[in-house]
Symmetry: C2
Subunit: 209 residues, 2 copies
Amino acid sequence: MKGLSAKQQAILDFLRQFIRNKDYPPSIRDIQLGCEISSTSVVDYNLKALERLGYIRRDREVSRAIEMLDGTGRRPHTVPVPIVGTIAAGSPIPVFEPGASYGEMVDATEEMTRGKENVYALRVKGTSMIDALVNDGDIVIMERTNSADDGEMIAAWLKDEEETTLKRLYTDGDRIRLQPANETMKPIYTRPENLEIMGRVLTTISHHH
Amino acid sequence: MKGLSAKQQAILDFLRQFIRNKDYPPSIRDIQLGCEISSTSVVDYNLKALERLGYIRRDREVSRAIEMLDGTGRRPHTVPVPIVGTIAAGSPIPVFEPGASYGEMVDATEEMTRGKENVYALRVKGTSMIDALVNDGDIVIMERTNSADDGEMIAAWLKDEEETTLKRLYTDGDRIRLQPANETMKPIYTRPENLEIMGRVLTTISHHH
DNA sequence: TTCTATTCGGAACGCGTGTTCTGCTAGGAA
DNA sequence: TTCCTAGCAGAACACGCGTTCCGAATAGAA
């Protein structure tokens, strides 16, 4: 962090704050005013120094294209994920139609969706999913799929039982084992024909109010 | 969604995509090229129409200042949260120093931090926090505080037991009740002097790999 | 001292960019 | 037909903005 003059440190702080407030980078003259610098050339001089030291990156083709490299100014990419409905023990899982428009949305980082397509979210209703370590009001971020590999956490509809559940999927011979995330709880065994996979669980989020 | 010409729809789509890719809005001539429009005045004409119809907002003082109002182009604000360490049953909770710099970071939306200051994150180690519906590898987003209201989920250090735990806090007369999030599990009772509050739990995140 | 590198001031240059002006074309209403 | 409006094309204008050039300080080394 050292090796920077007071002016260069002030420019970095101003950049951070400006981008956070306005969602776009400042112009050179914005920096000049904001940091009370006497000339645009001084700003340019110090920006070049900051760029050489690796603190920022600039795109000479486009105005206001200053990018901060230490992460504090950069906004990570987020994806709005539609909440297609609620998931509860006794009711089927709402089906996500990729084209349709849904009212409620959750903002998720790409870390949470892992860059997947066909991502949707469900709101957990009741405490019946507690063996998946998910409680009433939590949000489950899902990827729509009809199949899953062994060990993956899925949302499943058990036809005979008319039950919805969140479990890890394992094939035990010619039977299916659904294993709770809470390993102190017992698994469910069932026939493959009784299982309908509604999606893969990517992330769960609990807000504690 | 209707009432828009094909050109206006194309401009909206292009805006969405451009902002998503480059993190800043396009210039009028970028739109002209991207939508294969013959003149800048046509772009301006349709942008004015879109602005009148309420689809976008523009800042006439600043170049490239086009803001989409339907949310799909706007990036929700996210905050980088430092992961200050791990939380496990037998070891104390790492103390978050607001000024210090930490290596690992998690990106959280403002919905997850609720705009709070002094926010940090802990990585859950082991399965000892499972009664808080949190499992090995999960991330807990915390607000640093020394006190908490009844019913709030806190991270606590029990001095006598030398135990770390995540529980809801309740005062029962002159004793403290620590209630698991999983209501089928039993609470802990202890003296106030035995309890050190290390922070308030804002959100928990589970990534299922 | 003298030389050299760093930092800064002021001004101008040139391109990017939003805006405006003029005119054209197509289509519908009177 | 005539008139009006929506939409478009091309050009020019004015200003924002990054850049550059010329010098003047200032400080440290030789």
